[in-house]
Subunit: 348 residues, 2 copies
């Protein structure tokens, strides 16, 4: 118990400094009677001074607080996750919490391992950054009364727990509207997996912009990807190989946009002269692409900050104004879009 | 002390189950005499069963272990850091430790804040992933007897603490030798800051390859950068504006290579037909570039794994065979290098 944690040498030193026996120190430590009030106070002060509770973490635990916030993410790969992490750290740097990271690598067994370990140990709260709502994890956390906030994709209109996202539909609309404003009429879209609400939200925004502009929707221009570079490459080839290829491609996310770039490079099609490309996310490498990618900015750092702030409020026992918050997406114009050019794609 | 942590209700329940008074339970808890051996054993068993030590984290602390490994990094931005983190997590996933992340954002005050908080709390060990050796931090950790391993750049030939790196000099040599093997004779290099040993190691490898091939070194082809994209752009312009520009550029790292790409795109110079580009690091977006970047692979995940493994051995009180380990760099051929083409750079 506690005594074991205190070094014998420390007890002896306290006893010496207080001019008492180690037995007396032990009595004070164990809140046993038989020590005068003044001596007790003096010993207690010395104990404090010697900081026998070795560190603040131990004190935190005593108060039922670990000082730890756990962030569980899908992959340690993308600019998306890093952007969120950045915002989370900014808030925790202020609050003094430590950020514990765990990546599940899209493996459900690993996810369960993490959950089991988490419940086994102490955490003040959890941030979930998983590709869609993992209701199993959410339910387990709710059952255990562990505060948590889910960031990013939300697959159901309402949930019983706090979530934070961004205005995806509006982003899809804005991207498409921008291409239309440049004069494009045949705009290809490479979506994410269409079982995800956020993929469907992008597509719905695309349709809305075309409909408003009175441009008929051509199903041949709608391709489904998996948000990975390879899908961007393959779907671009299939768009280019159509009898009437598009003059612009809305890539669904920036990883797919990198794939669109590679396919166009292979076919020697110049961006933006012969083909406009617009991404979605605005991850860290988007500005590093050649040409720098015009894209829809997701406020990743701000989402991370907001999620961490909401979580700290939950931990403090405060009520949230809203169970779901969406931060605004916005258009970032760089150099990958231009008005359409008549004639063949590879003409220079 | 300990008693405060045990709920009165739990003590009463243990007393009831053992058929003794709460005073007897208290005596056992506090290792005081006056309880028979058998009763004591029974009570101790019940205490275990009731798991009055509320969680494993508390037990860890009691054993002087927090179950936490702290990783301090410079920025939450690069593929470099993510690659290392990936390897670290793989090892900790096995060992069951939790990974605590902190980014200093190149701010020394933030670094000190982190250090103060770390010493104030519990950690099993620390991984330092800072741009060069932060001797202040290393000294503080050594003083406190906290095990740590430093990853990446090493600025002194020998250190008093464990470090892990990669064969940078060999990487610089290999990159340059590869360009020479393609037929290049005028090879530009954009180094990192030349006060860093790892920047000088790349440059020394470059010189060695040229000297072995009997190619004179032209100081006009050696530019100093800061490992950032913007330096890649600017130094490429200055290389192109020379009377006799190079036919290939060794970019120092992949971020600078992205800058080289942007400058060449601006000047309408085709990669690799008119200009070969080689990077260094092989971060996650290198394969996503157009064309995919040929580069020197740093075994980032393996370095992370090795560092975590070394740290766990230090924590377990084991001796390391060597205080410094270097893992091998290697050439990754993608699509950004080709034999030099005679004639003007923009001819197609």
């Amino acid at each position: 118990m506690e005594q074991r944690q205190i070094k014998r040498s420390t007890m002896a030193q306290i006893a010496k400094e207080a001019g008492v026996s180690t037995t007396t120190v032990s009595k004070v430590l164990n809140q046993l009677p038989g020590v005068g009030a003044q001596t007790r106070a003096r010993i207690q002060q010395l104990i404090e001074q010697h900081d026998y509770i070795q560190n603040h973490a131990a004190r935190h635990l005593r108060k039922g607080q670990s000082g730890l916030i756990d962030l569980v993410i899908m992959r340690l790969e993308g600019g998306y996750d890093l952007g969120i992490m950045h915002g989370v750290q900014d808030v925790l740097e202020e609050s003094g919490h430590r950020l514990v990271i765990f990546a599940t690598h899209e493996n459900e067994d690993t996810e369960l391992l993490w959950l089991r370990r988490l419940l086994d140990r102490s955490t003040d709260g959890v941030l979930l950054l998983l590709p869609y709502e993992r209701l199993g994890i959410a339910n387990a956390l709710m059952e255990q009364g562990i505060p948590f906030v889910s960031i990013g994709d939300r697959n159901e209109p309402t949930t019983a727990f706090p979530t934070i996202g961004s205005t995806i539909w509006l982003g899809g609309y804005t991207a498409t509207e921008y291409l239309i404003s440049l004069g494009h009429r045949r705009i290809g879209i490479i979506t994410g997996p269409l079982h995800l609400t956020t993929s469907r939200a992008r597509l719905a925004g695309y349709r809305e912009a075309l409909e408003r502009a009175g441009i008929p929707i051509d199903p041949a221009l709608i391709c489904e990807g998996n948000y990975l570079l390879g899908d961007g490459v393959q779907q671009t080839y299939s768009l280019l190989d159509q009898p009437e290829p598009p003059t612009a491609i809305f890539a669904g996310n920036d990883a797919q946009a990198a794939g669109v770039y590679q396919a166009l490079y292979q076919r020697n099609i110049h961006i933006p002269d012969a083909m406009s490309v617009i991404g979605f996310d605005d991850v860290m490498y988007s500005a590093q692409m050649s040409p720098p990618l015009t894209t829809i900015h997701q406020p990743l750092a701000e989402m991370g900050k907001m999620a961490a702030t909401m979580l700290l409020r939950l931990i403090a026992g405060q009520q949230l104004e809203s169970n779901h918050v969406e931060l605004s997406t916005s258009l970032v114009v760089r150099a990958s879009c231009a008005p359409p050019r008549p004639g063949p794609l590879t003409e220079k």
